[in-house]
Each structure stands twice: as C-alpha cells, then as structure tokens.
C-alpha cells in the first residue's frame, strides 16, 4: 500500500539498547510494526506517530459525515433544517467526504526523507 499510512514510525525511543539489539528483539519489533501496519490498513484512520494535522482533520470529518449518514435521525434533522430531501442531503454528505478540509499540504523535501528510511527497514 502506498500512501500516508505506510510511512515508517519514528526510531525507537529507548537509547540504552541502541546498537546492542539481539535478533529476537529485532524480530519482535518487526512483528509489532507489521501488526500496526495491518491495523492501519484495515481500520482507516488509525493514527501513527507521523499523522499530520490535515490527515487527522480529514479523518474526523469523514467519520462525522459517515456517522450522520449512518444515523437516520441525524440525517433527517439536517435535511429538515435545510428543507431538502433526505436522499439529496445524503448524497451531498458522501460527496463532501472526498475532500472535507481542502487539499493536503504540499510535501516538498519530505519525499527524500522517507525513501532512505524505507530502505533501511527493508
């Protein structure tokens, strides 16, 4: 999966073990990380240490819109206030999920930081 969720997490916080890791510990870490990535792929919106403000906001908005669509009374409440048919409000809300808080921030320079990290992990 390419995208915002596949960025590797920060280096380990602990500095005592730096450079003295056994194979077992490394395998454990890898497993934990794979597990985390699996969860992040399965449950969209699962955060990671590098979640940006835009990603977070986008997720919150998408969750909100899907919550409204999934709860008929809330949908009726909004539709009634706007004096619009429920079906139209529902379609509009789903369309808003495409980009609820504007485009992502530009990522110049970031590209180069990520690539070597990925290689190191591999």
């Amino acid at each position: 999966m390419v995208g915002i969720f596949s960025r590797s997490p920060r280096p380990p916080c602990s500095t005592f073990n730096e450079g003295h890791e056994t194979n077992d510990q490394q395998a454990d870490k890898l497993r934990t990380q794979q597990e985390l990535e699996r969860l992040q792929a399965k449950y969209i919106g699962t955060g990671h240490p590098d979640t940006t403000s835009w990603e977070w906001k986008t997720n919150v908005h998408r969750d909100t819109f899907s919550h409204i669509v999934g709860h008929p009374p809330m949908l009726a409440y909004i539709a009634l206030a706007n004096n619009e048919p429920i079906a139209k409000v529902r379609a509009d809300l789903i369309r808003k999920m495409i980009q609820p808080v504007g485009p992502p921030p530009p990522r110049e320079g970031e590209e180069s930081n990520i690539v070597p990290q990925l290689q190191k992990d591999a």
């Binding site: 969750d63 899907s66 999934g70 009634l80 706007n82 504007g102």
Partner: protein
C-alpha cells in the same frame, strides 16, 4: 450500569417512531399475499395491505435494539417465501424469517463481519440481494464490500457462506443495487467515488476531477470469488441506481439518476439519457434542476418484458420511465435497447420508498408526515402528457441540450385510499389539559412545509357511533337479549326507567314490543335469554320467567325486595334487601328451580356476578358477591357445595360492580378473571383460580371519581371489559404486546352499557347517556392514542402556550422557499401575460422554491376549536427561530408574545445579516396578536424565556436580560456564558441553565444586587444539546443531537455557594477549572434513545400518576422516563433487564447494553421496552426467569404492567 448511581429511571416508549427509513415488498408469510416490511428507527414492522378495503394493518412490530440501516429481501429458487436480510449497526448480517403461525420474526442466520456501531468502514450502510436469491452484498460507505453466497442444503434449509471480500481502499459508495442477470453469475452495481488520488494531490485539482463511476462486481459462483468486472464513468451528479429487469424480462443493466439526468447504463449496451422535466409555472424558477430521490421498478404481470419505473423528483413529482427495445426484421423485440422515455405521472409527497403491489396499489413511505396508500386508476398509458425520449438528448451530460418542461396537475393516475398517521418529524411537544378531561393531552407540532400539522394526542380508542336516539326520560339500565338460544342476533332491547320498563325490537326499524311478556310497570334489574327458549326479567318485586308467552312469576318474600341480580343462560341469582342470596337453576324440563337454602351475607349485597356458562358445561361454578362491608366473596355453585364460600377478598372500598369473565392472557391461553369495580372509582382485575376459587394477582387502575360499573362486551371476537366511570374505558389484550390494556374511549360518559349484536352491527355496544340511547362500535383495538391534526403553513419550529387561555402559538419557517408576497408578485407579472393562471395547492405540490429565500409565519392555534385563528407572515426575508410568552413586571405583569427572528440566514456555514426580537401584544384573550415593535440584536436569538418579570435571551454566546420599553426592548444585563452558541435556556429563581449547541450545559447565577450573570458550573463532556428541562433546582434533563438523554446535577455544595448572598466576589474571581467554569456538573443518568430528542418536559400523564419526563424525537417517537421510587424495584428491574438481555437477545445481534450506551455508557436507566418483551417470551423462559426471582410469572408480568399503567 454503574451501581453507584442513586437516581434510576425506567424508559418506556409511548409512541414508537413513525418514520420509515425503508419499506420493502414481499411474500413474507409464504402465501401469495404481499406484505410490506418497514424499518423505522430500531423497529421492524410488518404491514398487511388489505386491497379489498384499501387499508393497511400492522401485523407485527419488533424492536431490534439496533439501528436498522438497510433491509433487503430474497427468495430461494423454487420457494415462495421471502426472507429478510437486515443490515444494522451490529457489525453482523442477520437473516430473518417471518413465522405467520406464531406471528414472530425468527432469526435464521447471524454472521459477524466487523465491529459494532455505525462506522465508516464497517459494512452495513448498503445492502443488495441478487433477485434470484443466490447472493447478497453488504457494503460500507467506504472501502469494504462483502458478498455472502446464499444457498440451500440437503434438508432444504437456508445456508450462508463465509464472506467474500471486494474491498478497495479510498472508494466511497453512493448507491448499490443488484443487477438482474437471470441465472448468469450474480452481478452487483455500485455508484462509486474514488478519493485516493485527491488525497495525494496538494493542488486540489484531483479532488475537483473525481469522477462518479458505475462499477459492476461479479460473483463467480464457480470459482467462488468476486471480481470488479466493469466500470465506467457516469454523470458526476449521479446519486441513485435502479435495477432494470434482465434475463427473460428485459435488457438488464441499471438506471443511473443524477441532477436532471436519468441514464440507462449496461456493460454491453449503449447509454441512453433523458433529462428530468422541470416544472413550469409562474412561480417556478426555470433554471432549477431536479434530482431523483426515490423510485420503484414494476414488472407487469402476464407479459414478459413489460415493465416500467416510477421515479420521484425532489419536488415530489412522479415520472414514468420506460424502455423501448430494438425490433428485428420480423418485429420481435431483441435484447437491445432502442430508447429511454420519460413522462410526468402524478405528484405525491416526497417518499423514501415506494412499493407497487400486485393488486394495483402504491404504498408511499413518505419522508415526513403521513404515509400514503394509493390505488392505481390507470398507468398513464394513453393520456396527452408529453413524453420525452432519449433520441433527442445527447448521452454525455456535459453536452448542451434544451431543458424540458411539464405542467404539474392534480392526480389523475393515482387515488389516495388511506393515509396512515405519522408524527415525524416531531419538533416540539407540550403537555396540557385543555379539554377538562381527567388526563392531560399531548400537543405537538410536526411535519414539514405545507404538510405541517399541529397535532393533539389523547389517550383513548376511536369510537364510531351508529345510533344516538333521544328517549322520553332517563333510563337506569339497558339490556339486549335474544329470544332463543340459537338466535344469531339480539332481538329485544330492554330499557329500564325509574318506574317502567320499555321493550323494543331490534331490526330494520326499532319498534316497541307490547307482547313481550315483560312487566312494564316496574323497573328492571336484569333481562336474560334462558335455556332453549325463554326469557327472564328480574324486577325489584320478583322474577318473571317467560316461555312462549306463558309467564311464571316468582315473587320476592314479603317486606323484602330484590336489590341485585346476576343471570346467565342457565342460572339466576338474586340478592334480597335483607342480605339473603337466592339461587335458581334451570331444570332439565326448562323450568326455573329455586335452591332450597338461602345464603345470608353479613352486609348488604351491592353486586353479583355469575359469569358465562362455558362451552360443554352445564353451569358456571362460581358466584361473586360484593357486599358493602368492602369485601368480595366467591361462592361455589357446584351441586355438592352449592353456595359454600370458597374465598373472600377485602377491598379498599365497597364494590359497585362485578364481572366474572375469561380473557386471553399473555401466553395465548384463556384465564378466568374476576373484574371488580369499586365505589371509589378503582377498577381491579384478579385471577380466579378455577379449582379453588382463590383470588390471586390483583391489578388495579384508577378510572375516575365515580363508582365503576363493568359490562362484558366483545370487540373483534375478543371478550373485553367495558368499564364506565366519568368516561367509558375498555379493557382488552393488546394484539402486538399481548399485555392487558385499559384504554378510555373517546366518547361521552355512559351510565349503563351492554353488548349489542344485530345484522348491521355485529359487535357493537349499547349505552345510556342522560336521556340518549347510543349504539356504537370500536373499529380498531391497536392504536390507543387518538390524533387530531390542524394544518399549519410552514415547517413549525417552536410551540408556546398562552399562560392562561387554551391557545397555542407556533412559529414556522421554511428555508429556500418563495415567500407569499414574492409569489403574488410573480403571479401578477405572469398574469398580465398569460391571463388566468391555475394555482396548485401547496399541500400537494409544495411551495415554489428559490435559494436563499425564507418564508416564515406565526400562527395562533385553537386546539379545541381545531382551527388556526390567525397567521402573521414575516416579511423581508426574516425567519422566526425562537418564541416565548413573557410577562413583564414593568407592564404590571401583562404577558406578551416574544419572537426571535433572523434575516437572510444561511444555515451552513452560519450567516445572517441581522437578528431581531419582535414583541406582540395579546388581544381578545390571546385570539389576536398586535405587533408592537422589534429590536435589532447582534445575532438571531435561538433561545428566549421569561426571567423574573423580564425577558432572557440567548444570543450567540451571550445571555441578555431585556425589559420592555416603548419603542424597543431595553438591555438590562448581559454576560458571555456559553462557549459556542446558546440553543436552550431554563430558569428557576436566580439560576439560569444555558444549553450550548456543542458544549453541553452551563449553570449561571443572576446576582440582582450587582445585576451580574455569573457562570459557575459546566459540563465535563461535549453534549450537542437540543433540548433541556429542569428536573429540580439542581438537576437538568436534556437530549443531544446524537440521540442521548441525560440528567446532570450540580453538586450540593457548589449549588448552595452560588446562591449565597455574598458569594458574588468569590464566584467572579474563582479560578477556571480546565478552561471551563470553576465547577463541574455530575452525570446522574445517561441513555441512548436512538431517536434525536427534540423536546423534553416534566409532567404527569395520568390521573394521580407521578411526574415523568416526556421526550419527543424527530422520528415521531414519544417516550417517557419514569423515576423509580424504591430500591427494591430498581434491583428487580435491573436483574430482569439482565435476564432479558440474555434470554431475548436483540434480533439483529446488537448487544443491548452496548446499544443503549452507544456514545456514553448507559447509567441509571432501565430499558422498559426490553423488560416489556418478557410478556412475549415463550412460557418456559418466563418460568425460568420468574424462578430466579422466586416469583410467579404472573407477579413478574404484573410488576411490568404496573410500571406502565401508573405513569402512562
């Protein structure tokens, strides 16, 4: 539930939600009859349309304790019964079967696939089943799609496979249908949006270019996997899909509907597109594009390949859409589509679902307001309506084309046959007693646009009167009797007066009978058909037995008279003024034989009852005797133990009436009951043990201030009890809940009643009211709330009552609607050109729409006279948002109507140009309003209340105190107290409770010495408050936008400190706690109600009942929260609720505890709706649960029913 809570409430639904999120047609009973399944809120309801009478009956309603998001039905090949698939918020797929024998839904399969809750990536939002019943697809809004293969095993049982995944990240679904492909591999069509590129593109260009795609997912039954078979770009506004028949019946494919666009699409066919015709008319905007909001496909019986669509636009206009097939050289249709055609059909209210029945009816589940049941007059085949064909329009929606227009007209093809009452959207609700009845009524505002109504709800059964005839004087009693045992109908109607008896014959005409053999110069105590052929009349001086004209008279002993009598087909019992009881029984030769012993009672006998002789028995074996020493005795009538006392029951007052009668109990069997009416107006029902004569399990209800009289009647083949007090009541077993229900009749008070049966009126009742004889029937036993509605002009927003007079004031506003003055202007302009213009009634066609315009008005409603007295339209694009009746101390307490308005409002994002507060003076006791002045304020005020002889207004974040001046309102005090936006205000004394749109409630104290408003306590979590009410000085109950109900309480110490005289300085200088007020409120109770609460108030609903919290929900729900008084009851219901959760788990697999704690764990509230399902459990489970409590099943049922009957 936390055991630490010290406040406990019992939540009950008074009226279930009436909204229909989806309706589905099918043969669910396995017969050829079609039923309709509807999903409303958390309820699944099965409706049985009755084509002969044009009615719709409710067969079954089941609360699944989960949010029903989609339902679908399927039928296995070769079967004739439809199964139901439920997609809910349980993270599970449930397959349900309807069992017509037991009238229950039974779950066949429940497969878990994800987390519970209504989430973005957990399937459950969309559901589609293959038309041949081979598979179903359940999808989430984003990414996930699961396909389940449905099949049948060797035992002919339905099987379900493990799910096959068709996930794609970054994809949103707008609509999903199953394709009709005959018996080829099942295909599902989805309307999708892919945002994954937009997420990567910082320029924002990709987001603008996101295309709406039509995607086919094919389930390969051979390989058992799902592939994304085909996809194509469709019009970017598309939002809804409809299945086109395939296989033998048509070309397959889908109709893709978007803004001004209906397109036929299929993978191997060309696209065909027709625009949605626009309305033409002087007030219509010719540029406005319509979209399709709902529709239905119908295959015509008999001819293969004949089908049509009815699609509905957002105006409510129905269009008929048909497909033409290409013909080959011999004139036979081929599989290729030639063109798509559309034409105007009729206009009905906007619907969420449409169902066309085989019998030629259309069921329209409307978005708001009453659901409609129409009959097809014709199919619009050969009318002169313009038809538009795809030949004239480009397939590409971006290409230029000429819009098409039509003239809306009144209905020609459909005819409304039944309108089912629906209260959604229920916007505001007040409890008041305006009619002077014992119990108060509920007044509410509901509906939207021109279909808005003011509705009054009264607890009662609808009665239809057949005859009301005046009599020369006031009778004291009335009886009907047959002449012979085999007579089908009653023949005589006997009326007793103070010193005479009148016998009338029942037939085509009612005439006096002179040769009846009755003694007409005395009053009558009882009249009865006896034995094979014969009549009996009991009067104070004796008994007359009349057999074929011969009269046998039994005289009462000297100096004594008969005071009470009870009779049945073979027995007669009388009580003498001396307290003796004389028993007669019919001999084998047809004569009446006196039992040689008289039984002496301790006091004067007030009433007697025998009960009917049961089928196959010779006699009723019990006699109930009520004496004025406040007792009821049961005497045996068995031959060996005649008149021996079997049991005695002490009462709280002297009995006034008795009735031994068997009724259906909750398990479906019949139980013998003794019904007792007391002089104090109480009605009791006790079980009469058939072997011992013991009286057990007493349930009671206070009916009114007069002595209660009881009569046995029959309604819908069910024996019922008619109890007369200040109002007539009917006791019966409710068909849906199986609970014994006591409901007042919406009718005059009656002095005496009896059953009535004739050719014209099979199951009627006859009653005496003053000097009127009335014959009436009860048509429906189900609905025990009587609705009366008064039409309003626009969508109502608030309801306020005049402080003294029985009038209500509503404020109404519609967004994007052309106001009347502009409408008139437009009509005038066009009128000068076109001459006469037909005006369409807005009730059926809606108001003409225009963006940014508001129509708003204030109405005075007279609920007793059932009319709107005055409507004041607001001008200048102002719309009313809040209202209150305020009595200003500066005007010597005179009350004024205060209305808050906003000018040029835009709801999202919130904008306006000004806010105003209008003040109106009451004239003619509130029947008329006079505008005094309006005051410009910073923002539209969303909350207004009277406060210490002044007006308190919530304007934005600020609360302001206003006094009434001559030219405008005068600002007296103000403070910023709410974090975002004030939506509700409550007050008691100097305390003000401010509800914020997002941040919960804040307690504010007003310090009159310094004229300051100081917030001192607020909430610990964000509650998107919609409504609040004060439960007591320290507590506030409210509802929020996510469907929760809660009670918050201010800690005692904080509350006391805030009210101290000298606390002002310490309050203003108190340190903020975590960016909020210095103190926090404590959560007392919390409950997820599913429906969005729109109003909440504290009131008592029954005579002598305790106060309850009554709340209304936008889906039309009315519920109550009843406080528990004793800790024992809490413990009992808490553990009953626990047992019910495990013994009767919710149908769709939602965990009940998690459901009721959807956002915040449920606290201090017991779900009465779940507890009441105990009555519906099978007997063994009831026994088991009751055993856990060391109680009998009846005792448990009694406790449950007492909870409802004492408060609701």
């Amino acid at each position: 539930m936390a055991a630490t809570s010290n406040m406990f409430l019992y939540s009950l639904t008074v009226q279930p939600p009436s909204t229909i999120t989806q309706a589905l047609l099918g043969q669910f009973a396995g017969t050829r009859e079609q039923q309709i399944i509807t999903a409303s809120g958390s309820r699944l309801t099965l409706l049985q349309p009755d084509p002969r009478h044009g009615k719709v009956h409710t067969l079954l309603a089941h609360d699944i304790f989960g949010i029903i998001r989609a339902i679908s039905s399927f039928r296995l090949a070769g079967s004739n019964k439809d199964y139901i698939i439920l997609a809910t918020d349980s993270g599970r797929i449930a397959i349900i079967e309807y069992m017509p024998k037991t009238n229950r839904f039974v779950r066949i399969h429940l497969e878990t696939f994800g987390k519970s809750g209504s989430r973005r990536v957990v399937p459950g939002q969309f559901l589609a089943a293959d038309p041949r019943g081979r598979a179903c697809l359940i999808a989430s809004l984003e990414k996930n799609k699961l396909v389940y293969v449905l099949n049948r095993n060797a035992q002919a049982e339905l099987t379900i496979s493990s799910p096959l995944e068709a996930h794609k990240p970054g994809v949103l679904v707008l609509s999903l249908v199953a394709l009709d492909v005959g018996y080829a591999n099942p295909v599902f069509a989805a309307l999708e949006l892919d945002y994954s590129e937009a997420d990567q593109d910082p320029s924002g260009e990709a987001a603008k270019e996101v295309e709406t795609q039509l995607v086919y997912y094919e389930l390969d039954l051979g390989l058992n996997h799902v592939v994304r078979k085909w996809s194509d770009v469709v019009d970017s506004t598309s939002s809804i899909l409809f299945q086109v028949p395939g296989g033998q019946d048509g070309p397959s494919g889908v109709l893709v509907c978007g803004e001004e666009n209906v397109t036929y699409r299929h993978s191997n066919q060309e696209a065909f597109r027709v625009p949605i015709p626009r309305r033409s008319g002087p007030t219509e905007d010719p540029q406005r594009k319509r979209m399709i909001v709902s529709g239905v496909m119908h295959k015509l019986k008999g001819s293969a390949g004949a089908f049509f669509f009815l699609v509905q636009s957002d105006d409510g206009d129905l269009f008929k859409v048909t497909l033409d097939m290409l013909e080959d050289s011999e004139g036979n249709p081929t599989g290729e589509v030639q063109r798509l055609k559309i034409k105007y059909f009729d206009t009905i209210p906007v619907a969420t679902s449409l169902c066309i029945l085989k019998s030629g009816f259309l069921f329209a589940a409307t978005e708001y307001g009453n659901h409609h049941f129409y009959q097809f007059e014709k199919l619009g085949d050969d009318d002169d309506e313009l038809e538009f064909s795809s030949d004239e329009f480009p397939t590409d929606s971006k290409a230029a084309y000429k819009p098409v227009y039509f003239y809306p007209r009144s209905m020609e093809n459909l005819e409304l046959v039944e309108s089912m009452d629906a209260m959604n959207p229920l916007i505001d609700c007040k409890v008041a007693n305006l009619t002077g009845d014992d119990a108060p009524q509920i007044y509410s505002i509901c509906g939207n646009g021109a279909r808005s109504t003011f509705r009054s709800l009264k607890h009662g059964l609808e009665v239809s009167e057949i005859v009301a005839s005046e009599l020369p004087s006031t009778p004291s009693g009335v009886w009907t009797t047959k002449l012979a045992r085999d007579d089908e109908f009653d023949v005589y109607l006997v009326l007793s007066f103070t010193n005479a008896t009148l016998v009338l014959s029942i037939g085509e005409t009612v005439e006096e009978v002179s040769d009846s053999g009755f003694l007409t110069t005395v009053p009558t105590l009882a009249a009865q058909q006896l034995g094979e052929i014969g009549l009996i009349q009991v009067h104070p001086k004796g008994i007359r037995h009349i057999v074929q004209g011969r009269v046998n008279e039994w005289p009462a002993p000297q100096h004594r008279s008969i005071v009470a009598a009870a009779t049945n087909e073979s027995q007669v019992v009388i009580a003498l003024s001396s307290g003796e009881i004389v028993y007669f029984e019919l001999d084998s030769d047809g004569s009446l034989a006196e039992f040689d012993e008289k039984k002496e009672m301790s006091g004067t006998v007030t009433c007697l009852s025998l009960g009917k002789v049961r089928e196959g028995h010779k006699r009723s074996s019990f006699l109930a005797v009520g004496c004025d020493d406040c007792t009821v005795r049961i005497l045996s009538l068995n031959p060996e133990t005649t008149l021996d006392m079997m049991s005695i029951q002490a009462l709280t007052a002297a009995p006034s009436s008795l009735c031994i009668m068997s009724m259906e109990d909750s398990s479906g069997a019949t139980t013998l009951y003794l019904h007792i009416g007391l002089h104090s107006g109480v009605y009791l029902r006790t079980v009469l043990e058939e072997t011992t004569g013991e009286l057990t399990d007493t349930r009671q209800k206070f009916l009114g201030p007069k002595p209660t009289r009881l009569f046995q009647v029959s309604v819908k083949g069910q024996p019922c009890i008619l109890a007369l007090n200040s109002k007539p009541w009917l006791g019966y077993t409710d068909n849906l809940t199986k609970a014994f229900t006591m409901t007042p009749l919406s009718y005059n008070d009656l002095e005496y009643g009896w059953s009535f049966s004739s050719e014209q009126c099979l199951e009627g009742m006859v009653g005496v009211h003053a000097n009127y004889l009335r014959i009436f029937t009860i048509a429906k036993l189900g609905d025990n709330l009587i609705q009366k509605s008064i039409p309003l002009t626009y969508t109502p927003k608030r309801l306020v009552k005049h402080p003294e007079q029985p009038y209500f004031y509503t404020i109404e506003a519609d967004n994007n609607t052309i106001p009347p003055e502009l409408r008139a202007q437009l009509l005038e302009q066009s009128g000068s050109v076109n001459g006469d213009v037909k005006l369409l009634p807005p009730k059926d066609f809606g108001y003409p729409r225009a963006k940014g315009r508001w129509s708003s008005c204030i109405s005075i409603v007279d609920p007793i006279g059932e009319s709107v007295l005055q409507t004041i339209h607001l001008v200048d694009n102002e719309a009313a948002v809040s209202a209150a009746v305020v009595s200003f101390a500066s005007q010597e307490g005179e009350s004024f109507l205060v209305v808050g308005t906003g000018k040029d409002m835009v709801l999202n994002p919130r904008q306006f140009t000004a806010g105003y507060i209008h003040v109106y003076r009451f004239h003619e006791d509130g029947r008329d309003l006079e505008f005094i002045h309006k005051t410009k304020v910073e923002e539209p005020p969303m909350a207004l209340i009277p406060f210490q002889g002044r007006l308190l207004a919530g304007i934005g974040k600020t609360v302001l105190v206003y006094d009434l001046g001559l030219k405008q309102l005068l600002r007296k005090s103000q403070a910023d107290v709410a974090p975002q936006f004030i939506v509700s205000l409550q007050t008691q004394g100097s305390r003000i409770i401010v509800g914020d749109v997002q941040q919960g409630v804040t307690y504010v104290v007003y310090k009159p010495e310094s004229n300051k408003l100081i917030p001192f306590a607020d909430d610990s979590i964000n509650r998107w408050t919609t409504c609040t009410t004060m439960v007591d000085y320290d507590s506030v109950a409210g509802g929020d936008r996510f469907g929760n109900l809660w009670i918050l309480r201010c800690p005692d110490k904080v509350s006391a400190e805030a009210d101290e005289q000298s606390s002002e300085i310490s309050l203003t200088h108190a340190r903020d706690y975590l960016h909020g007020a210095p103190n926090r409120l404590a959560l007392m109770t919390h409950f997820y109600a599913q429906d969005l609460p729109t109003s909440i108030c504290k009131s008592s609903l029954v005579v002598g009942g305790q106060e309850v919290l009554l709340w209304s929900g936008i889906q039309g729900t009315i519920g109550v929260l009843i406080p528990f008084v004793s800790r024992e009851d809490v413990d009992f219901f808490q553990s009953l609720e626990n047992h019910m959760r495990s013994e009767d788990p919710p149908l769709a697999g939602r965990d009940h505890l998690i459901y009721r704690g959807y956002h915040v764990p449920v606290k201090g509230v017991i779900d009465g709706d779940l507890c009441e399902r105990f009555i519906l459990l099978p007997n063994d489970k009831k026994q088991m649960i009751a055993g856990e409590f060391d109680r009998s099943v009846r005792e448990v049922e009694r406790k449950i029913s007492v909870c409802r009957s004492c408060s609701v």
